[in-house]
Structure formats: C-alpha cells, structure tokens
Amino acid sequence: MANRRINGRQLEKMLKNGLRNLVNHKEEVNKLNVFPVADGDTGTNMALTLRHGLGSAPSRTEAGAYLKPVSEGMLMGARGNSGVILSQLFRGMYTELARCGWIGPGELRNALIRAYKTAYAAVVHPVEGTILTVAREGIEHIRTQIDRNSTIEAILSMYIAEMRKSLVFTPELLPVLKEAGVIDSGAYGYILIFEGMLDQLYGKEHTVHDKDGEKEEREEAPAPAADASLFNENSTFEEGYCTEFVLQLMRGEDYDQRFTLRSFIDDLTVYGTSLVAVQDGTRVKVHIHTKKPSKVIALAQEFGEFISFKLENMQLQHNEVLAAGAAPKKPLSIIAAVNGDGIDGTFRELGCDQTVVCGETMNASSEDFVRALSAVHAENVVILPNDKNVIMAAEQAVRISGAENVTVLPSRSPAEGYYALAMDIPDSDDVPRRIKLMKDGMQSTATLTESVAVRDYDSGGVKCLSGEEIVLLNGVPAAASTDWCDCMITALGRVPGIEDAESCVVFRGEGVSEEKEAILLQRMAEAYPMLEATAIYGGQSVYRFIIGISE
C-alpha cells in the first residue's frame, strides 16, 4: 500500500535501510576515485556520517523531532567533504521539516529543495558535477510534477530516477571525472541512501552483509589521563560520573524478559542527566551522567550483562577545566589532523597542541575537531587539516562550536602542514604575523605522494597499469613507472622551481624500510644536489613516501 505521508518512525526505518544499502555498496563508492590511488573513502565517510546521525537519535513519532538529533549528529560526525555536504543536505531537510509531525508530498518536495539549497550555501565554491548537482537536478526536474495526491513512493522513485540521470552526466560537467572514467562518488552514495529508503517503503529491508560495517567506526583516541591530584578528600562532588556502557540483554530466568527501551529510559532518567540510550537488536548502548552509578548498574543488570563499561569522574574533568582556566590562555594554539604515529610526533614536537589522529583515509570528523577545539586553552587557534578532504569538516567544526578567532589554514597534505609549523615562530607574540608565516610556509610547498596504482590510468601524459608505481604532485598524477624510485625522481623534476629549492622533508610511511629511504635520499641528492632533504619517520598509511618541497 502506497504512503501519502510518513511519520518519524517510518522515516527512521527508511533512513536505517538507506544506511544499510550504502554500507553494502561502500567499497563500490570508495573505488570511484578520480586518481588510481587507494585513498578513496567517500562511501566510508558518508556511511560514518549518516550512522553518527542515526545513532544519536531516539525513536520519535513526529518526523521533525526525530530528524533534529539526526541532523545535529550528522553535523558533528561529518567526515570528509562528502560527509560534510551530506550533513548539510540533511540540515536543510530538517530545517524544512522541524515542525512537521508527518511528511506529506508537499513537505517532502520542500525538504528536498531546502536540502540542496542549504548544501550549496555551505560550500564556498560549489562545483557542478557533484552531489550538489545531482541533489539539485533530482528535485528541480520533478518539482512541478508533485501534487497533493503524489505518494511518497512515487516522489522518491522520480527523485532517484532523475538523480541517476544526472549522475551519468556528472563526467560531462567535471572534467576530472571524465578523464578518470568515473562518475561522482558522493552523488552515487547519496542516491544509494535514497534507494534504501524507498526499498523500505516497498518492504525490502537490507541487511548488512559485511560485519565490517559495524566495526569500521575507528577507535577513539584514548583520552589523556586526568590529573588525579585535582580531586582529593576536600573536593566537592557535584558533577557525578560520566557512565557509558553496552548492555547485552540476556535470556534466562535470571533476567527480566520484559525489556522495553522506552521504560528503561524512563527509569534511568531518575538517576541522572544527559541520557542517551540506543537499542540495536539485543544490545543497548547507554550514556548517562549520574552521581549514583550503582543504581544504574543494578537497573541494567535486571535485563542483562555488560559488554563494556566506562566510568569517569566528571568532577575531576571539571576541576581540570577550572585549573586550566586559572592558567593564562596561550596566544595561539595549533590543532592538526594527522595520520601516522611519526607524523603525529613530529607535529607535536613542532608545537601542535592537539592532534586529531585519523585512520587510514584521513577521515577526521567535525566532532573530532570540535573536541580538539574545546581541549585547547588559547586566545587564537589555527587548524591544519592536512588533507583536502578534511578541510570542510574542520570548517564545519568551527561553525558548530561557535569558537572565535579560529583560522582553518587549508593545508592539503601533511607536508604543507609541516612547513606551516616549520616556518612558525612560537617565540613571537605577534599572532597575525605567525599566522601569515604559517600560511606562506604552507602555500610555498609542493607535495609528492607515492603509492601503488589500484587501477589502470592514462591521462595528462601519465600512464600506468594497476599495480605499478604512481606519484601524485599536489594530488594529481605526475609520474608512473614500474620502479618506485625512478617514479619519484621523475615526479620531483615536475615540481616547479625544483632547481632552486633547498628545503625538503621526506616522510617515510608505515612498513617502509630505512634502506628504501636511504636509496631515495641518495637518488634525490644525485639528481638535485642543492636540495637539503631531511627524512622523518611518518608512519602514514597508503603513501609509502610523502615528500614536501618548499621554496
């Protein structure tokens, strides 16, 4: 039976089905990478972003009330450029539907229009041939065909069909796609979500076939140990414990079999604040701030046992904040996204106060940056995203946090970030000058990245087969060869001003031997004797070597 309107609970099921559909096609989306390098992560990032939103939202009957935490969660959890744009699309939908209990044809149409408009507005330089185009054309081409008798299924079918047409056309709008012979990955991911949503209405529920979908949420960096001296026998205890656990609901007569999330939440509410409880099958994830964790534990154990349990004294954290507040603010703090333990260490040594440790594909979320922003204690902050796909998440974090005097220096590689820090003068109190020096350091840097091609490639004079060595110069293929070192030297020759350059940093990747590094440095010294190359263990994934040449 076709639906003329849907409520919050239906929307929740649809979105969850959309997420599962996306997760099942994640790798396909990841592979739609313009360059044949294994750093594609659009599918992963979009899935992480949507999951973060859905995971933060309890079931609600009113559509608007359900979407609010979904939208907020997505803004916070946004990863990568595609994730940021997806979160903006949903923010637009929520803005339109905020007061709607039910979503009918008119509301849906307006929400889809508001979605793309919001996303366009959030992007500084909107590029056509991307998710933006597809989301826009999808609704603009059908909006006049929607009337009050349209069913939700019909609207979504048309929307998807138009978006599919638009998707095929993306390579015509965006030359890089055409050259690479791919369609836009973000747009494809967006369509997959809506296809899953529509499938739900037709009763086709997707199941996630790879277990990976559940565990891809990368582990949070362990919080730095709290300074225990800030809580003692004379302390007041007002803040309670931050309590987080995953509860496995159990069978058997020892356990109450009448568990419902609703009544569990009602009971927990008595014991604390900031309560979030989400049920996934027979597991329940709970977050609560409470002064009496024993009560919470006792209540939970009526229904099952703990898979994991975390308890933190929030008074201690609170006192730390107070103690930090007493200390004078630094004139300037620096936050950087890093991949690799060596790069992390190097950035910290060069004066970075907070690093956002990223997984394999540099997928730092806005939330990671929001957390880092709240952890620094400074008058001014500079953020170095160190990847072109992290810049938007950082910028979004600044907007979300409302933090002032934050500058996102759009470093596109760790090498650019490195030279920003290397040229900084922490001795100086002149913050604008420091920021300018960092910016100059970043902008005068060329980045070479070396890895193995994951598919055949032939464009812009660079040709290689899958499995051969490929080097990108500032993100664009510059050389390919069967020999990694030849490839590197050839690419080095393509760096503008290389003959006069003297300063060069080489980050050695995870699992790359020091012998290889020595060979590379030797070859570089032979080819460019003026270049003073310094090798640093980076430990980054994907790229065996990242080279920065700064003029």
């Binding site: 040594e349 060069l350 004066g351 000058r433 003297e502 060069c504 940093v505 640093i536 920065g548």
Partner: protein, 308 residues
C-alpha cells in the same frame, strides 16, 4: 702600573693560544661524557675530534652534561692573584643560561673577606661561546690601551648589549631540552632545511627572530641583518662560531669579507662546555653594532623586512 687580571669561564671557547695572546685566564667548567664521567672542560680537540663529538652527541644527547665551575673553584682561581695584590676582572657566561655569574660573584665575596684589600669585579656578559670570547678579547684590548679595571668594567656593562649574534641554529632540540631559548616551551622538531635565525635578547637568551628556507636565503637574510646592525665593520674582528657546520661557516666568512671588509674574520669552534647545550647546528657571526632593542622589536622588523 701593574695590569689587572682578566679571567673568563670556560664557555668563552678561547683556545690556549688565543687566551695566551690576549692574557686571559680560563676557569674550566665540568663535563660529563659517556664512559668518562666528570672531566674538566677543554677548548682544544684532543682525544675526541669535532665531528666525532657532535655525531656522538646527536646520537645520545642525554648522556652528556655540563656544569660551570662552582664557588670554590672560582675562589681557588682568584685567590692566588688576590693574595699577591692583583686586581681581577672575572667574566662569565650569560646569567640567563647558567649560574656561573652567581658562583663567581659569591666566590669574589668569599675571597674579598679573606683579602679585604683586593679588588675583584665580576661581569655577566649575557653571551656565550665565541660571542663571549669576543667580548673578552675587547676587554683585553682595552686593558692594553691602559684602561683601568673600573673603566673596562664600565665599558663592558655599557656596551655588552652591542654584541650581536647573526646566524642560524638549524637543530633546536638541544637548546630546547636545556631550556636555553626564550620561549617557555621551545619547539624542537626537526626542521628540514629551515634555518631559524637567532639573536641574543636583553637577558642573554637566544631568540628566534625569523626563519629562512634553505641556506641561500638564510645567508642573504643574515648579510642584510648584519648590514643594518653593524657599526664600523672595517675596524672589527668578526668571529664566526660553528659547532659542526664548518663548510657553511667558511662560505659565510667569504661572504662577510666580501661585503664588509672587516679587519679580520675568524672561524672558531664551539667546544663541549657550550656545545653540549647547543648541538651541531650552530653557525653564527658575532660582531659589535647598534644596541639591541629591549624587546627585540627593531631586530624583528629588520628580519621581517628581508625575509621576502
């Protein structure tokens, strides 16, 4: 009239021949070397050579340490001269980075208690290494011109702030570890070819004024900096100190000679008493010029002007 005695602690990096030539008595400090324990400081390479020392220091910096002569040792150095009625000028490394001035002052008090007729003056040079050595040479030359102890001390106090350092320190990890940079928490990450340009601040600490990418740009910036700050270069002895950057120092020397035609330019090594705390990356010229501004704002402005 009998000439007064000039003493300088071992961080002035004057080799025996130079110290002899200018009549400067060196009070050695202490070194802790791996496998050798506590040994007196030296200012001539012997058992261990320059390259060997700095290479090993880079490898295991934590196994090396230094300390200045203590109060008793300063007093022991002064006492025989005080006893025979000589006046003494004792010059020490910057109080910003070492306790030597404090020790020397207390030693002087101690000796004066015993020999109330004696005359001992201590001067905190606010400099280290060959920059301090250069100041000791100036003191010796003034003495030779017939200036009294008081007059020389007065001159030093009035002019020590005119002793500039124009050079780079391309490996900040050593100064950072030992707290010898102005910035509270110095940053000591590896700087790939980036040369921090350092000058002394008012308190005798080295401050990074700016940075240059690569040696070529650094030389050009430094020569401009010298041109803006030096006075009367033709009549000066310019000292270039280098820890383990001899080829660069030689290049720098050639450029300075060509541009400023000074009376002489000499390259001096930095020996372990300072070197342990500086590391292998120092290459700097020391000369006399305009007084250094209290907050280094003028010097920063010069660097900014020439740093493109």
């Amino acid at each position: 009239m009998k000439e007064f005695i000039i003493m300088a602690d071992g961080t002035c990096d004057l080799d025996a021949a130079t110290a002899e030539k200018y009549g400067i008595k060196i009070i050695p400090g202490h070194l802790v070397f791996p496998e050798q324990g506590d040994i007196p400081s030296f200012s001539e390479w012997g058992v261990i050579g320059r390259d060997e020392f700095y290479a090993d220091l880079k490898k295991r910096p934590d196994e090396y340490a230094t300390s200045p002569a203590n109060v008793e040792e300063f007093a022991a150095a002064m006492e025989p001269y005080a006893e025979q009625g000589d006046e003494i000028l004792v010059m020490t490394i910057s109080s910003g980075i070492s306790g030597a001035f404090n020790f020397a002052s207390r030693a002087a008090e101690q000796v004066l208690k015993k020999y109330p007729e004696a005359k001992i003056e201590a001067v905190d040079t606010l400099r280290f290494g060959p920059g301090f050595g250069l100041m000791a040479i100036y003191a010796s030359q003034l003495r030779q011109q017939g200036k009294t102890l008081s007059e020389v001390k007065e001159w030093l106090e009035a002019n020590k702030n005119r002793f500039h350092q124009a050079g780079w320190l391309d490996d900040l990890s050593f100064v950072a570890k030992k707290g010898r940079l102005t910035h509270a928490k110095a940053f000591f990450g590896t700087l790939a070819g980036v040369k921090p340009i350092g000058e002394f601040d008012y308190n005798g600490l080295t401050t990074v004024l700016g940075k240059a990418k690569g040696a070529k740009k650094a030389y050009s910036l430094l020569l401009n900096y010298i041109a803006e700050t030096i006075e009367d270069p033709e009549n000066q002895l310019i000292v270039i100190a280098q820890t383990n950057r001899l080829p660069q120092a030689e290049e720098y020397k050639r450029m300075i000679e060509e541009k400023f035609h000074p009376k002489a330019v000499v390259i001096r090594d930095v020996f372990p008493l300072c070197g342990v705390n500086i590391g292998p990356g120092l290459m700097a010229a020391y000369y006399v010029g305009k007084p250094i501004s209290a907050d280094l704002s003028e010097e920063r402005a010069i660097v900014e002007k020439y740093a493109e």
